[in-house]
Amino acid sequence: MALDQSDQLDDDALIVLFANGDSAAAEALTLRLSPLALSFARRMLGDLAEAEDVVQEAMLRLWRIAPDWRTGEAKPATWLYRVVNNLCIDRIRKRNRVNVGLDDMAEPPDPTPSVEIQMIRSDRMAALDVALASLPDRQRQAVVLRHIEELSNPEIAQVMNISVEAVESLTARGKRTLAKVLTSQKEELSS
């Protein structure tokens, strides 16, 4: 298959072609899916290099599952978000364990600039990242998937393996907390 023909094919068809040995299908799937996965992973982890490792691992899992892929069930993008989500949770948990182990040690100086400095630099995105990082993991996942990745609530429910009602609740609570954190940052700056 020529790469320019891949636009007419959906992700399911490309996975089938990949499983049948079509290397152009791999390229088309990579160009289509890896930016979505990278965007989500970066928002979840707050670190681009780590997010790239997660995306590579997630795509590898997609390649491996290709021969057994069941077309017409979960959308490949939703499946990939789910894998990325699980890989990110694993990494966040590992980080937390390491942080607990280091509690006894002298605290190193915080390498990240304070919220005030970030806001002074008018870096709204950095402020959003800080605010997102302050959310509990599941609220952060739901908010990022709903409002940044623009997935529907049923799709988020599939990714997170929870009910649609739970997604709605997590998103609403996450947004409330985000609003509070961002408002307090604003007040700090204006004082």
Binding site: G21, E27, T30, P35, L60, R124, A172, R173, K175, L178
Partner: protein, 127 residues
């Protein structure tokens, strides 16, 4: 649950501004990441090729090919059964094989006669 879902419209609007900016601020996969993914894909595909069993190179004789074309063993069974019935009928010459043909001729003859008679009857009535 309903309390959970209550939001402040003003705060929502402000948050939406952040989200909108975040949606435009999507990272582009680096060339290094794309090449790592492509390399994984190529390695995985190479494994698929090894796993697919190769069909043995079979060269069939013309009669084996013909046998396969007519439907193989089930078709041969059907042909044998038909041949056996033919031989049986040929040797035994059962009565129904001859009387059945005779009976059909009788029926056709009756039909012809009936039509002829009916025509006469109508002619007599009209006349």
């Amino acid at each position: 649950m309903t309390d959970d879902l209550k939001t402040n419209p003003e705060a929502d609007l402000e948050l939406e501004g952040f989200f909108q900016q975040a949606r435009q601020d999507t990272p582009v996969p680096s060339a290094d990441l794309l090449s790592r993914i492509a390399s994984d894909a190529a390695m995985t595909q190479a494994k698929f090729a090894k796993e697919i069993p190769q069909a043995p190179d079979r060269r069939m004789s013309w009669w084996a090919q013909f046998f396969e074309d007519i439907g193989g063993l089930p078709a041969l069974g059907g042909l044998t059964a038909c041949a056996c019935v033919g031989v049986y009928l040929g040797f035994v010459n059962p009565e129904f094989a001859t009387t059945w043909a005779g009976w059909q001729e009788d029926v056709e003859a009756d039909g012809v006669m009936s039509h002829a008679l009916l025509g006469d009857v109508y002619w007599i009535e009209e006349g």
